[in-house]
Symmetry: C2
Subunit: 387 residues, 2 copies
Amino acid sequence: MREVAVVGVGCTRFGELWNRSLRDLVVEAGIEALEDCGVGGEEIDALFVGNMSSGQFTKQEHIGCLIADYAGLASFHIPSVRVEGACASGGLAMHQAFLAVASGYYDVVVAAGVEKMTDVSTEDATDALAAASDREWEGFAGATFPGLYAMIARLHMHRYGTTREQLALVSVKNHANAVHNPKAQYRRNVSVEDVLNSPIVADPLRVLDCSPITDGAAAVVLAPLDIASEYTDTPIRVKASACATSTISLHDREDITTLDATKEAAKRAYSMAHISPADVDIAEVHDCFTIAEICAIEDLGFCAKGEGGKMTEDGETEIGGKIPVNTSGGLKACGHPVGATGIKQIVEVVQQLRGEAGKRQVDGAELALTHNVGGSGGTAVVHILSR
Amino acid sequence: MREVAVVGVGCTRFGELWNRSLRDLVVEAGIEALEDCGVGGEEIDALFVGNMSSGQFTKQEHIGCLIADYAGLASFHIPSVRVEGACASGGLAMHQAFLAVASGYYDVVVAAGVEKMTDVSTEDATDALAAASDREWEGFAGATFPGLYAMIARLHMHRYGTTREQLALVSVKNHANAVHNPKAQYRRNVSVEDVLNSPIVADPLRVLDCSPITDGAAAVVLAPLDIASEYTDTPIRVKASACATSTISLHDREDITTLDATKEAAKRAYSMAHISPADVDIAEVHDCFTIAEICAIEDLGFCAKGEGGKMTEDGETEIGGKIPVNTSGGLKACGHPVGATGIKQIVEVVQQLRGEAGKRQVDGAELALTHNVGGSGGTAVVHILSR
């Protein structure tokens, strides 16, 4: 396999972007990524687009083709493919793009992610997102994603003594990080009291424990490592790209507080990169709900099982802490356009590794991990990148 | 890149399968493919699932994970990804699976395709399929796929003198082939008169010019060529796998009677396989409408532009003719579960190249081509396989 590098990154503002369509968003992110590395449209060999549900959200499928066309690439006839794995669609698109370059078949490829979620009502969006669970055994029985993660939270609190305040501190930290991210949906601080007093969604989770509904897109340009310096002075190496699945339904898991797909994808990624969790300097993890970040830092091996709440409370995941987590603001505060999230995570760590993250910069970050989850843990994707 | 072979194939019966769900169908096809080559679940390294629109058809996304789970593979945590490019989703899944093995990252992978289309009304299915066109510029303006292909047919007839009877002969041939395919949806002969007297759908296309709405799934097992003989006595080599896009909308094409994505994907595939169109012994092409097969055999280079109708009338695409086309019965008569079609095409040519196609066997077939299209030609995928 050839070694692969990220040479360019781009990202739209995340938010409720009423005046922008799906195609506008992804083209904007793509152009920013291409300009970042001086790559012209005629140099792109293939496009991989992560997207969960443009069919349900906008009644549009075939968006690989649509996006290549609206990006002005139709005359080059570039291969373009949509990749889907619920909220892990972006991470999976990155994996496909990695394989495409690693194989030697394609040289310069774009991995993009996009979701346009605000063209439907909040109720319809929640229903569309429930398509990431097992519709027949979870969705039709009334389980929504806040409900599924609330069950995880409740058991985690019961079993490990994780407190309501520790959950809130995830949100507080991620909002604080988002203040310094110009692309973030919510650039404002929240307090523990704000979280605890926000409306209940699914006990014990409240509004400020939940990632929002978001429009947005992100894109990265990949190239073989040995020619990456033609495109950028600061190529970022993709040291590992690994995926894993588990049962789609929560009720089929042995232990719902452990996302075994995360553990397995992380194990494969650490092995591929020849590193251990202690070597990771920064991480973007899948905090679709506050409890999800606590499970993630445990399952990724940053702390022992059950210690995620305490690790958060001790400030070890803050910028300046042992392993800064979600410097972008995470899904919670940067926003969660579901198909775009996995790519936005790559954009964030690339900016950190380049030293271009502005006021949220983690000094000396050399090794970064991204962690993207589909559903309640049915799919997990882990990437490890280095300077 | 490593060389890649198909070592196992499986396919469900195609049809209106009221008593089977999406997950049932793909698991059945997968098991048949695994049993075909004696591969156990624990040996599978990754799964790629082609599917156009499970979200619109069954309100279920995340089917990569769902299928891995229901196939009993959750405990192996295998990576599983859904790949989408409208009706070319199956072909694109095959391409991703090819890249996965060629890269050296994965060894034994399954490429599957599935669509469950009969859980919604015919009107809703037609609307869901319109998501493969540009919803904003074609769908909302009232264009359906029969309407788009009817325009192609009308211009082809006007410009090249293609006759209504020649269109009908595509359907007659494909129905005749389907009679001998136990997996086909319509195992009955139709006459030119039957086609010409069938109800009009979009002038000049009639019901018997159109592929049906179908439930079905297909699966193939890929492995590196150098170890393929561990799994089968008759490995089929994947000599080329190539994709291309064009404009998603018909009105943006220079010439709507030419699918330039087909021409470009074919050019890339012929170059990769070091062959010319004249070397091809059999082909499965994307006959979503009768006119589509005529355009396909022209754009693939089997005859000159404008000669597709005559080539059909002369019997050159029949079994026994110069290049037998759609020995499976094609999309028209075998059926068209949109995400499964691209994989079913691979299954058919593998059976032909192995000499296992029963009464529809083409004697001495050594080199086969498959051609899968998304939308009205926005995406095309071409594979070339050999004994």
